[in-house]
Protein backbone atom coordinates (compact mmCIF):
# COMPACT_ATOMS: atom_id res chain seq x y z
CA UNK A 1 0.00 0.00 0.00
CA UNK A 2 2.86 2.36 0.79
CA UNK A 3 4.20 1.99 -2.69
CA UNK A 4 0.90 2.77 -4.32
CA UNK A 5 0.86 6.11 -6.15
CA UNK A 6 -1.70 8.80 -5.38
CA UNK A 7 -3.50 8.05 -8.61
CA UNK A 8 -3.86 4.38 -7.76
CA UNK A 9 -4.93 5.28 -4.24
CA UNK A 10 -7.59 7.60 -5.57
CA UNK A 11 -8.83 4.83 -7.86
CA UNK A 12 -9.22 2.54 -4.83
CA UNK A 13 -10.88 5.34 -2.86
CA UNK A 14 -13.40 5.74 -5.67
CA UNK A 15 -14.27 2.09 -5.14
CA UNK A 16 -15.08 3.02 -1.52
CA UNK A 17 -11.93 1.37 -0.19
CA UNK A 18 -11.53 2.73 3.33
CA UNK A 19 -8.06 1.30 3.78
CA UNK A 20 -6.89 3.33 0.81
CA UNK A 21 -8.50 6.40 2.34
CA UNK A 22 -6.76 5.75 5.68
CA UNK A 23 -3.47 5.39 3.84
CA UNK A 24 -4.06 8.73 2.15
CA UNK A 25 -4.81 10.38 5.50
CA UNK A 26 -1.63 8.87 6.97
CA UNK A 27 0.39 9.95 3.97
CA UNK A 28 -0.64 13.60 3.97
CA UNK A 29 -1.82 14.46 7.47
CA UNK A 30 1.63 15.14 9.04
CA UNK A 31 2.66 17.60 6.37
CA UNK A 32 -0.77 19.24 6.21
CA UNK A 33 -0.93 19.43 9.98
CA UNK A 34 2.23 21.55 10.06
CA UNK A 35 1.06 23.62 7.12
CA UNK A 36 -2.18 24.51 8.91
CA UNK A 37 -0.80 24.68 12.45
CA UNK A 38 1.69 27.39 11.43
CA UNK A 39 -1.26 29.57 10.54
CA UNK A 40 -3.67 28.77 13.36
CA UNK A 41 -1.33 28.03 16.29
CA UNK A 42 -4.19 25.98 17.73
CA UNK A 43 -4.16 22.20 17.78
CA UNK A 44 -7.88 21.80 18.20
CA UNK A 45 -8.69 24.06 15.26
CA UNK A 46 -6.00 22.43 13.13
CA UNK A 47 -7.61 19.05 13.77
CA UNK A 48 -11.01 20.46 12.78
CA UNK A 49 -9.60 21.96 9.59
CA UNK A 50 -7.86 18.73 8.55
CA UNK A 51 -11.01 16.79 9.27
CA UNK A 52 -12.91 19.10 6.88
CA UNK A 53 -10.25 18.79 4.20
CA UNK A 54 -10.19 14.98 4.21
CA UNK A 55 -13.93 14.55 4.73
CA UNK A 56 -14.65 16.77 1.73
CA UNK A 57 -12.15 14.82 -0.36
CA UNK A 58 -14.02 11.62 0.51
CA UNK A 59 -17.38 13.19 -0.30
CA UNK A 60 -16.10 14.51 -3.62
CA UNK A 61 -13.99 11.47 -4.51
CA UNK A 62 -15.93 10.83 -7.71
CA UNK A 63 -15.52 14.34 -9.08
CA UNK A 64 -12.01 15.25 -7.93
CA UNK A 65 -9.69 15.63 -10.87
CA UNK A 66 -6.03 14.99 -10.21
CA UNK A 67 -3.17 14.94 -12.69
CA UNK A 68 -0.50 12.89 -10.94
CA UNK A 69 -0.40 13.87 -7.30
CA UNK A 70 -2.97 14.82 -4.71
CA UNK A 71 -0.86 17.29 -2.79
CA UNK A 72 -1.71 20.43 -4.79
CA UNK A 73 -5.39 19.62 -4.39
CA UNK A 74 -5.07 18.99 -0.65
CA UNK A 75 -2.91 22.06 -0.01
CA UNK A 76 -5.37 24.30 -1.85
CA UNK A 77 -8.30 22.76 0.01
CA UNK A 78 -6.42 23.39 3.27
CA UNK A 79 -5.72 26.97 2.19
CA UNK A 80 -9.44 27.68 1.69
CA UNK A 81 -10.29 26.11 5.03
CA UNK A 82 -7.61 28.19 6.78
CA UNK A 83 -8.79 31.42 5.18
CA UNK A 84 -12.38 30.58 6.09
CA UNK A 85 -11.23 29.89 9.67
CA UNK A 86 -9.33 33.20 9.71
CA UNK A 87 -12.40 35.15 8.58
CA UNK A 88 -14.71 33.47 11.07
CA UNK A 89 -12.53 32.78 14.09
CA UNK A 90 -9.41 34.89 14.29
CA UNK A 91 -10.36 38.13 16.05
CA UNK A 92 -7.10 39.91 15.32
CA UNK A 93 -5.84 38.63 12.00
CA UNK A 94 -2.18 37.76 12.15
CA UNK A 95 0.03 39.79 9.78
CA UNK A 96 -3.07 41.67 8.62
CA UNK A 97 -0.87 44.56 7.48
CA UNK A 98 -0.03 42.48 4.44
CA UNK A 99 -3.70 42.45 3.49
CA UNK A 100 -4.31 46.18 3.79
CA UNK A 101 -4.73 48.12 0.58
CA UNK A 102 -1.83 50.52 1.05
CA UNK A 103 0.54 47.60 0.77
CA UNK A 104 -0.96 46.43 -2.48
CA UNK A 105 1.27 48.61 -4.56
CA UNK A 106 4.43 47.06 -3.17
CA UNK A 107 5.62 44.47 -5.59
CA UNK A 108 5.94 41.29 -3.61
CA UNK A 109 6.30 38.48 -5.92
CA UNK A 110 5.36 37.45 -9.34
CA UNK A 111 5.82 33.78 -8.88
CA UNK A 112 2.72 31.68 -9.19
CA UNK A 113 1.01 29.93 -6.32
CA UNK A 114 2.55 26.60 -7.31
CA UNK A 115 6.05 27.99 -6.70
CA UNK A 116 5.09 29.33 -3.31
CA UNK A 117 3.55 26.01 -2.40
CA UNK A 118 6.62 24.11 -3.63
CA UNK A 119 8.87 26.32 -1.51
CA UNK A 120 6.85 25.61 1.57
CA UNK A 121 6.66 21.91 0.73
CA UNK A 122 10.45 21.70 0.50
CA UNK A 123 10.66 23.02 4.01
CA UNK A 124 8.08 20.58 5.28
CA UNK A 125 10.05 17.71 3.70
CA UNK A 126 13.07 18.72 5.77
CA UNK A 127 10.89 18.21 8.78
CA UNK A 128 9.92 14.73 7.61
CA UNK A 129 13.59 13.81 7.39
CA UNK A 130 14.00 15.09 10.94
CA UNK A 131 11.31 12.68 12.11
CA UNK A 132 12.73 9.54 10.58
CA UNK A 133 13.95 6.78 12.88
CA UNK A 134 17.45 7.73 13.95
CA UNK A 135 19.49 5.27 11.89
CA UNK A 136 17.52 6.04 8.77
CA UNK A 137 17.88 9.76 9.31
CA UNK A 138 21.65 9.60 9.83
CA UNK A 139 22.16 7.42 6.81
CA UNK A 140 19.90 9.54 4.64
CA UNK A 141 21.45 12.85 5.69
CA UNK A 142 24.99 11.63 5.11
CA UNK A 143 23.98 10.26 1.74
CA UNK A 144 22.02 13.26 0.41
CA UNK A 145 23.44 16.31 2.11
CA UNK A 146 27.06 15.26 2.43
CA UNK A 147 27.12 13.07 -0.68
CA UNK A 148 29.07 10.27 1.03
CA UNK A 149 29.30 6.86 -0.60
CA UNK A 150 27.58 3.83 0.89
CA UNK A 151 30.95 2.48 1.92
CA UNK A 152 31.93 5.70 3.75
CA UNK A 153 28.59 5.90 5.51
CA UNK A 154 28.89 2.28 6.62
CA UNK A 155 32.35 3.01 8.03
CA UNK A 156 31.34 6.22 9.73
CA UNK A 157 28.25 4.77 11.43
CA UNK A 158 29.70 1.26 11.94
CA UNK A 159 26.88 -0.39 10.06
CA UNK A 160 27.04 -3.02 7.35
CA UNK A 161 26.86 -1.76 3.75
CA UNK A 162 23.68 -3.75 3.28
CA UNK A 163 22.09 -1.97 6.24
CA UNK A 164 23.03 1.40 4.76
CA UNK A 165 21.53 0.41 1.40
CA UNK A 166 18.36 -0.85 3.05
CA UNK A 167 17.99 2.34 5.04
CA UNK A 168 18.52 4.62 2.06
CA UNK A 169 15.91 2.81 0.03
CA UNK A 170 13.49 2.82 2.95
CA UNK A 171 14.03 6.55 3.42
CA UNK A 172 13.42 7.33 -0.23
CA UNK A 173 10.40 5.12 -0.14
CA UNK A 174 9.01 7.06 2.80
CA UNK A 175 9.50 10.42 1.13
CA UNK A 176 8.14 9.21 -2.19
CA UNK A 177 5.05 7.88 -0.63
CA UNK A 178 4.49 11.12 1.14
CA UNK A 179 5.28 13.56 -1.62
CA UNK A 180 4.98 11.84 -4.93
Amino acid sequence: MNNVSDIQLLAHIREDNRLAFTELVNRYSPVLFRFVYKRTSCIEDTQDILQNVFASLWKRRMSVNVADSLYPYLFKAAKYEVIDWTVKKQKIIERSALLIETHASLSFMHSGEDDLMAKELAQLIEQEVEEMPSTMKNVFTLSRHHALSIKDIALQLSLSEQTVKNNISLAINRLCMKFK
Partner: protein, 370 residues
Protein backbone atom coordinates in the same frame (compact mmCIF):
# COMPACT_ATOMS: atom_id res chain seq x y z
CA UNK B 1 -4.75 52.30 12.17
CA UNK B 2 -5.82 50.22 15.16
CA UNK B 3 -5.12 46.52 15.14
CA UNK B 4 -8.79 45.82 15.32
CA UNK B 5 -9.69 48.08 12.42
CA UNK B 6 -6.87 46.64 10.36
CA UNK B 7 -8.13 43.14 10.99
CA UNK B 8 -11.65 44.15 9.96
CA UNK B 9 -10.33 45.48 6.68
CA UNK B 10 -8.22 42.36 6.12
CA UNK B 11 -11.25 40.19 6.84
CA UNK B 12 -13.19 41.87 4.04
CA UNK B 13 -10.48 41.07 1.53
CA UNK B 14 -10.28 37.44 2.66
CA UNK B 15 -14.05 37.06 2.39
CA UNK B 16 -13.84 38.48 -1.13
CA UNK B 17 -11.21 35.86 -1.94
CA UNK B 18 -13.42 33.06 -0.62
CA UNK B 19 -16.29 34.35 -2.73
CA UNK B 20 -14.05 34.37 -5.80
CA UNK B 21 -14.48 38.10 -6.32
CA UNK B 22 -10.88 39.31 -6.04
CA UNK B 23 -9.08 41.20 -8.79
CA UNK B 24 -5.81 39.56 -9.90
CA UNK B 25 -3.90 42.13 -7.79
CA UNK B 26 -5.96 41.39 -4.68
CA UNK B 27 -5.59 37.70 -5.22
CA UNK B 28 -1.82 38.07 -5.34
CA UNK B 29 -2.01 40.04 -2.12
CA UNK B 30 -3.97 37.29 -0.37
CA UNK B 31 -1.58 34.60 -1.57
CA UNK B 32 1.39 36.65 -0.52
CA UNK B 33 -0.09 36.96 2.96
CA UNK B 34 -1.01 33.29 3.09
CA UNK B 35 2.45 32.05 2.11
CA UNK B 36 4.23 34.57 4.33
CA UNK B 37 3.84 32.06 7.20
CA UNK B 38 6.10 29.64 5.38
CA UNK B 39 9.24 30.58 7.31
CA UNK B 40 7.50 30.23 10.66
CA UNK B 41 8.83 27.72 13.18
CA UNK B 42 8.02 24.27 11.92
CA UNK B 43 7.97 22.13 15.00
CA UNK B 44 5.01 20.70 16.80
CA UNK B 45 4.22 21.83 20.33
CA UNK B 46 5.72 19.81 23.16
CA UNK B 47 4.03 16.59 24.04
CA UNK B 48 2.21 16.23 20.71
CA UNK B 49 3.42 13.54 18.38
CA UNK B 50 2.51 12.78 14.83
CA UNK B 51 0.94 9.53 15.95
CA UNK B 52 -1.36 11.38 18.38
CA UNK B 53 -2.98 13.61 15.83
CA UNK B 54 -3.09 10.92 13.14
CA UNK B 55 -5.01 8.63 15.47
CA UNK B 56 -7.42 11.37 16.48
CA UNK B 57 -7.93 12.44 12.90
CA UNK B 58 -8.54 8.91 11.67
CA UNK B 59 -11.00 8.25 14.47
CA UNK B 60 -12.90 11.46 13.84
CA UNK B 61 -13.08 10.88 10.10
CA UNK B 62 -14.22 7.34 10.74
CA UNK B 63 -16.95 8.66 12.98
CA UNK B 64 -18.02 11.40 10.58
CA UNK B 65 -17.98 9.40 7.37
CA UNK B 66 -18.60 5.79 8.27
CA UNK B 67 -20.63 5.66 11.49
CA UNK B 68 -23.58 7.96 11.19
CA UNK B 69 -25.43 6.41 14.09
CA UNK B 70 -24.54 9.09 16.62
CA UNK B 71 -27.46 11.52 16.86
CA UNK B 72 -25.63 14.79 17.32
CA UNK B 73 -22.00 13.97 16.80
CA UNK B 74 -19.71 16.90 16.27
CA UNK B 75 -20.96 20.08 17.89
CA UNK B 76 -21.56 19.02 21.47
CA UNK B 77 -18.43 16.96 21.62
CA UNK B 78 -16.31 19.82 20.35
CA UNK B 79 -17.82 22.26 22.82
CA UNK B 80 -17.53 19.84 25.73
CA UNK B 81 -13.99 19.09 24.78
CA UNK B 82 -13.09 22.76 24.69
CA UNK B 83 -14.73 23.43 28.03
CA UNK B 84 -12.87 20.55 29.52
CA UNK B 85 -9.57 21.74 28.11
CA UNK B 86 -10.25 25.24 29.39
CA UNK B 87 -11.02 23.89 32.85
CA UNK B 88 -7.83 21.91 32.94
CA UNK B 89 -5.73 24.83 31.84
CA UNK B 90 -7.24 26.98 34.59
CA UNK B 91 -6.59 24.27 37.09
CA UNK B 92 -2.90 24.25 36.46
CA UNK B 93 -2.56 27.89 35.49
CA UNK B 94 1.01 28.90 35.04
CA UNK B 95 1.97 25.59 33.52
CA UNK B 96 1.70 25.39 29.79
CA UNK B 97 -0.16 22.26 28.88
CA UNK B 98 -0.79 20.96 25.47
CA UNK B 99 -3.36 18.32 25.30
CA UNK B 100 -6.31 17.53 23.26
CA UNK B 101 -8.97 15.14 24.19
CA UNK B 102 -10.76 12.80 21.98
CA UNK B 103 -14.30 11.88 22.79
CA UNK B 104 -14.59 9.52 25.73
CA UNK B 105 -16.88 6.71 24.76
CA UNK B 106 -18.26 4.68 27.64
CA UNK B 107 -18.52 1.47 25.64
CA UNK B 108 -15.61 -0.88 25.22
CA UNK B 109 -14.54 -0.73 21.65
CA UNK B 110 -11.14 -2.30 21.58
CA UNK B 111 -12.29 -3.81 18.29
CA UNK B 112 -11.44 -0.47 16.69
CA UNK B 113 -7.80 -0.91 17.70
CA UNK B 114 -5.73 -2.67 15.09
CA UNK B 115 -8.89 -3.12 13.04
CA UNK B 116 -9.06 -5.59 10.20
CA UNK B 117 -9.46 -3.85 6.87
CA UNK B 118 -9.54 -5.11 3.29
CA UNK B 119 -6.20 -5.80 1.68
CA UNK B 120 -5.08 -4.14 -1.52
CA UNK B 121 -2.64 -6.90 -2.15
CA UNK B 122 -3.81 -10.34 -3.19
CA UNK B 123 -1.18 -12.14 -1.12
CA UNK B 124 -2.98 -11.33 2.14
CA UNK B 125 -6.55 -12.12 3.08
CA UNK B 126 -6.80 -8.77 4.79
CA UNK B 127 -4.67 -6.02 6.33
CA UNK B 128 -4.57 -4.71 9.89
CA UNK B 129 -4.31 -1.08 10.96
CA UNK B 130 -1.87 -0.13 13.72
CA UNK B 131 -2.98 0.06 17.35
CA UNK B 132 -3.75 3.37 19.06
CA UNK B 133 -4.34 5.22 22.34
CA UNK B 134 -6.59 3.27 24.66
CA UNK B 135 -6.80 2.69 28.39
CA UNK B 136 -9.32 1.40 30.87
CA UNK B 137 -9.25 3.10 34.28
CA UNK B 138 -10.63 1.06 37.14
CA UNK B 139 -11.32 3.00 40.33
CA UNK B 140 -11.49 1.78 43.93
CA UNK B 141 -15.31 1.98 43.94
CA UNK B 142 -15.44 -0.37 40.94
CA UNK B 143 -16.26 2.36 38.40
CA UNK B 144 -14.59 1.96 35.03
CA UNK B 145 -13.74 4.55 32.43
CA UNK B 146 -12.43 4.06 28.91
CA UNK B 147 -10.14 6.74 27.53
CA UNK B 148 -8.95 7.10 23.97
CA UNK B 149 -7.05 10.37 24.26
CA UNK B 150 -3.28 10.20 24.27
CA UNK B 151 -2.44 11.41 27.75
CA UNK B 152 -4.10 11.58 31.13
CA UNK B 153 -3.12 14.06 33.83
CA UNK B 154 -3.82 13.08 37.40
CA UNK B 155 -5.05 15.98 39.52
CA UNK B 156 -5.37 15.47 43.21
CA UNK B 157 -5.75 18.42 45.56
CA UNK B 158 -2.68 18.82 47.78
CA UNK B 159 -4.67 18.44 50.99
CA UNK B 160 -6.37 15.27 49.79
CA UNK B 161 -5.86 12.17 51.88
CA UNK B 162 -7.31 9.89 49.29
CA UNK B 163 -5.00 6.90 49.02
CA UNK B 164 -7.37 4.84 46.86
CA UNK B 165 -5.62 2.89 44.20
CA UNK B 166 -6.45 3.24 40.54
CA UNK B 167 -5.67 0.52 38.01
CA UNK B 168 -5.06 1.26 34.34
CA UNK B 169 -5.29 -1.53 31.81
CA UNK B 170 -3.95 -1.02 28.33
CA UNK B 171 -5.15 -3.81 25.99
CA UNK B 172 -3.38 -5.45 23.09
CA UNK B 173 -2.91 -2.90 20.29
CA UNK B 174 -3.13 -0.07 22.81
CA UNK B 175 -0.67 2.49 24.12
CA UNK B 176 -1.19 5.19 26.73
CA UNK B 177 0.63 7.91 28.65
CA UNK B 178 -0.21 9.04 32.14
CA UNK B 179 1.21 11.86 34.22
CA UNK B 180 0.98 11.01 37.89
CA UNK B 181 0.24 13.36 40.76
CA UNK B 182 3.98 13.99 41.40
CA UNK B 183 4.70 14.86 37.75
CA UNK B 184 6.16 11.46 36.87
CA UNK B 185 5.42 10.49 33.29
CA UNK B 186 4.66 6.87 32.42
CA UNK B 187 4.28 5.52 28.89
CA UNK B 188 2.37 2.24 28.96
CA UNK B 189 2.93 -0.24 26.18
CA UNK B 190 0.33 -2.69 24.82
CA UNK B 191 -1.01 -5.44 27.12
CA UNK B 192 0.10 -3.65 30.29
CA UNK B 193 -1.39 -2.94 33.73
CA UNK B 194 -0.29 -0.21 36.12
CA UNK B 195 -1.76 0.52 39.52
CA UNK B 196 -1.06 3.66 41.56
CA UNK B 197 -2.65 5.58 44.45
CA UNK B 198 -4.59 8.76 43.70
CA UNK B 199 -2.22 10.43 46.11
CA UNK B 200 1.18 9.01 47.06
CA UNK B 201 2.25 8.38 50.65
CA UNK B 202 4.48 10.93 52.40
CA UNK B 203 7.51 8.65 52.48
CA UNK B 204 7.31 6.71 49.22
CA UNK B 205 5.69 6.56 45.80
CA UNK B 206 4.66 2.97 45.13
CA UNK B 207 3.22 1.68 41.86
CA UNK B 208 2.90 -1.83 40.51
CA UNK B 209 3.41 -2.97 36.96
CA UNK B 210 2.69 -5.92 34.71
CA UNK B 211 3.74 -5.53 31.09
CA UNK B 212 6.03 -2.80 29.83
CA UNK B 213 6.40 0.87 30.69
CA UNK B 214 8.84 3.71 30.19
CA UNK B 215 9.20 5.99 33.23
CA UNK B 216 10.41 9.55 33.60
CA UNK B 217 10.35 9.88 37.33
CA UNK B 218 10.04 13.36 38.86
CA UNK B 219 12.79 14.13 41.38
CA UNK B 220 11.75 13.95 45.01
CA UNK B 221 14.54 12.92 47.37
CA UNK B 222 12.13 12.57 50.29
CA UNK B 223 9.90 10.06 48.57
CA UNK B 224 11.66 7.33 46.60
CA UNK B 225 9.69 5.99 43.65
CA UNK B 226 9.14 2.22 43.91
CA UNK B 227 7.93 -0.09 41.20
CA UNK B 228 6.78 -3.56 42.08
CA UNK B 229 6.90 -5.93 39.11
CA UNK B 230 6.30 -9.63 39.68
CA UNK B 231 8.07 -9.40 43.04
CA UNK B 232 11.04 -7.44 41.71
CA UNK B 233 11.36 -3.97 43.21
CA UNK B 234 12.87 -1.08 41.30
CA UNK B 235 13.74 1.89 43.47
CA UNK B 236 14.27 5.33 42.00
CA UNK B 237 14.95 8.89 43.03
CA UNK B 238 14.53 10.73 39.73
CA UNK B 239 15.45 9.34 36.39
CA UNK B 240 14.33 7.84 33.04
CA UNK B 241 14.21 4.14 32.38
CA UNK B 242 12.23 1.32 30.81
CA UNK B 243 10.78 -1.70 32.61
CA UNK B 244 9.80 -4.78 30.65
CA UNK B 245 7.74 -6.97 32.96
CA UNK B 246 5.63 -9.00 30.55
CA UNK B 247 7.10 -12.14 32.09
CA UNK B 248 8.75 -12.80 35.42
CA UNK B 249 12.22 -12.14 33.93
CA UNK B 250 11.77 -8.44 34.65
CA UNK B 251 14.15 -6.29 32.59
CA UNK B 252 15.12 -2.74 33.51
CA UNK B 253 16.96 -0.47 31.06
CA UNK B 254 18.38 2.72 32.53
CA UNK B 255 18.51 5.84 30.35
CA UNK B 256 19.61 8.44 32.90
CA UNK B 257 19.97 8.93 36.65
CA UNK B 258 20.26 5.85 38.81
CA UNK B 259 17.98 3.07 39.99
CA UNK B 260 18.25 0.20 42.40
CA UNK B 261 16.84 -3.23 41.45
CA UNK B 262 15.90 -5.59 44.28
CA UNK B 263 14.83 -9.22 44.20
CA UNK B 264 14.70 -11.28 47.36
CA UNK B 265 17.91 -10.56 49.26
CA UNK B 266 19.90 -9.26 46.32
CA UNK B 267 20.03 -5.63 45.25
CA UNK B 268 22.04 -3.86 42.53
CA UNK B 269 22.54 -0.25 41.43
CA UNK B 270 22.37 0.47 37.70
CA UNK B 271 24.36 3.09 35.83
CA UNK B 272 22.94 4.79 32.71
CA UNK B 273 23.28 2.53 29.68
CA UNK B 274 23.06 -0.63 31.78
CA UNK B 275 20.34 -3.23 32.03
CA UNK B 276 19.27 -5.53 34.84
CA UNK B 277 17.54 -8.82 34.07
CA UNK B 278 15.98 -10.78 36.91
CA UNK B 279 16.25 -14.55 36.45
CA UNK B 280 14.58 -16.49 39.27
CA UNK B 281 16.21 -14.93 42.31
CA UNK B 282 19.29 -13.68 40.58
CA UNK B 283 19.94 -10.26 39.00
CA UNK B 284 22.18 -10.00 35.94
CA UNK B 285 23.72 -6.64 35.09
CA UNK B 286 25.04 -5.90 31.59
CA UNK B 287 25.61 -3.04 29.15
CA UNK B 288 22.47 -2.50 27.07
CA UNK B 289 21.41 -1.18 23.69
CA UNK B 290 19.11 1.67 24.72
CA UNK B 291 18.18 2.61 21.19
CA UNK B 292 16.80 -0.88 20.74
CA UNK B 293 15.25 -1.39 24.14
CA UNK B 294 13.35 1.89 24.33
CA UNK B 295 12.34 1.99 20.65
CA UNK B 296 8.66 1.38 21.38
CA UNK B 297 8.47 4.55 23.47
CA UNK B 298 9.67 6.55 20.44
CA UNK B 299 7.01 4.80 18.35
CA UNK B 300 9.39 2.43 16.59
CA UNK B 301 9.99 -1.28 16.15
CA UNK B 302 13.71 -1.92 16.23
CA UNK B 303 15.39 -4.87 14.50
CA UNK B 304 19.02 -5.69 15.13
CA UNK B 305 19.11 -9.10 13.49
CA UNK B 306 19.28 -11.10 16.71
CA UNK B 307 15.96 -10.15 18.30
CA UNK B 308 13.46 -11.80 15.94
CA UNK B 309 11.45 -13.57 18.67
CA UNK B 310 11.16 -10.28 20.54
CA UNK B 311 10.01 -8.40 17.42
CA UNK B 312 7.43 -11.11 16.73
CA UNK B 313 6.08 -10.74 20.25
CA UNK B 314 6.01 -6.93 19.99
CA UNK B 315 4.17 -7.12 16.67
CA UNK B 316 1.64 -9.55 18.08
CA UNK B 317 1.00 -7.21 21.04
CA UNK B 318 0.62 -4.14 18.87
CA UNK B 319 -1.57 -5.57 16.11
CA UNK B 320 -3.28 -8.14 18.34
CA UNK B 321 -2.39 -11.05 16.07
CA UNK B 322 -0.94 -14.53 16.52
CA UNK B 323 1.87 -16.00 14.45
CA UNK B 324 1.80 -19.54 13.08
CA UNK B 325 4.87 -21.63 12.27
CA UNK B 326 7.11 -19.36 14.35
CA UNK B 327 9.70 -22.16 14.51
CA UNK B 328 10.55 -21.38 10.86
CA UNK B 329 12.28 -18.22 12.02
CA UNK B 330 15.70 -19.41 13.03
CA UNK B 331 19.13 -17.93 12.98
CA UNK B 332 20.19 -14.33 12.65
CA UNK B 333 19.54 -11.75 10.00
CA UNK B 334 21.97 -9.16 8.66
CA UNK B 335 19.24 -6.56 8.60
CA UNK B 336 19.27 -3.75 11.13
CA UNK B 337 16.95 -0.78 11.41
CA UNK B 338 13.73 0.69 12.77
CA UNK B 339 10.28 1.23 11.41
CA UNK B 340 7.50 3.36 12.81
CA UNK B 341 4.72 1.65 14.67
CA UNK B 342 1.96 3.76 13.12
CA UNK B 343 2.01 1.75 9.94
CA UNK B 344 -0.24 -1.07 8.73
CA UNK B 345 0.63 -4.64 9.64
CA UNK B 346 1.28 -5.57 6.00
CA UNK B 347 3.99 -2.90 5.79
CA UNK B 348 5.68 -4.04 8.98
CA UNK B 349 5.63 -7.62 7.70
CA UNK B 350 7.16 -6.59 4.39
CA UNK B 351 10.25 -5.48 6.27
CA UNK B 352 10.33 -8.78 8.13
CA UNK B 353 10.13 -10.59 4.80
CA UNK B 354 13.21 -8.75 3.61
CA UNK B 355 14.97 -9.49 6.89
CA UNK B 356 14.16 -13.20 7.09
CA UNK B 357 13.56 -14.37 3.52
CA UNK B 358 10.27 -15.94 4.66
CA UNK B 359 6.83 -14.83 3.60
CA UNK B 360 4.15 -13.65 6.02
CA UNK B 361 0.50 -13.97 5.08
CA UNK B 362 -2.25 -12.26 7.06
CA UNK B 363 -5.39 -14.37 7.55
CA UNK B 364 -7.85 -12.64 9.84
CA UNK B 365 -6.01 -12.21 13.13
CA UNK B 366 -3.41 -14.84 12.30
CA UNK B 367 -0.15 -14.42 10.46
CA UNK B 368 1.08 -17.51 8.67
CA UNK B 369 4.83 -17.81 8.14
CA UNK B 370 5.90 -19.71 5.01
Amino acid sequence: MSEHKQSQQARKLLQKYLDGKCTPGEEEQVLNWFYSFEEKENSLPDGITEADFKTTLTQRLDEELFHNHQPDPEKNVVILRRLFVAALVLFVSGIAIWMYLDRLPQVEDTALLAAEVPSLNNANQNDILPGGHYAKFIYADGKEQIRRDSTFFTFTPLDSHNRNRVAIEVPHAGIYKIILEDGTKVWLNAATKLSYPERFDDDQRLVSLEGEAYFEVAKDIHRPFLIDAHGTTIEVLGTAFNVNAYESDVKTYLVEGSVKVKKGMQENMLRPGQEAVVLDDHIQIAETDLEKNTAWQRGEFYFDGSNLPEIISRISHWYNVEFENEELLQGESTYKGAIKRNTNLSTALKILEVATGKSFIIKGRKVEIQ
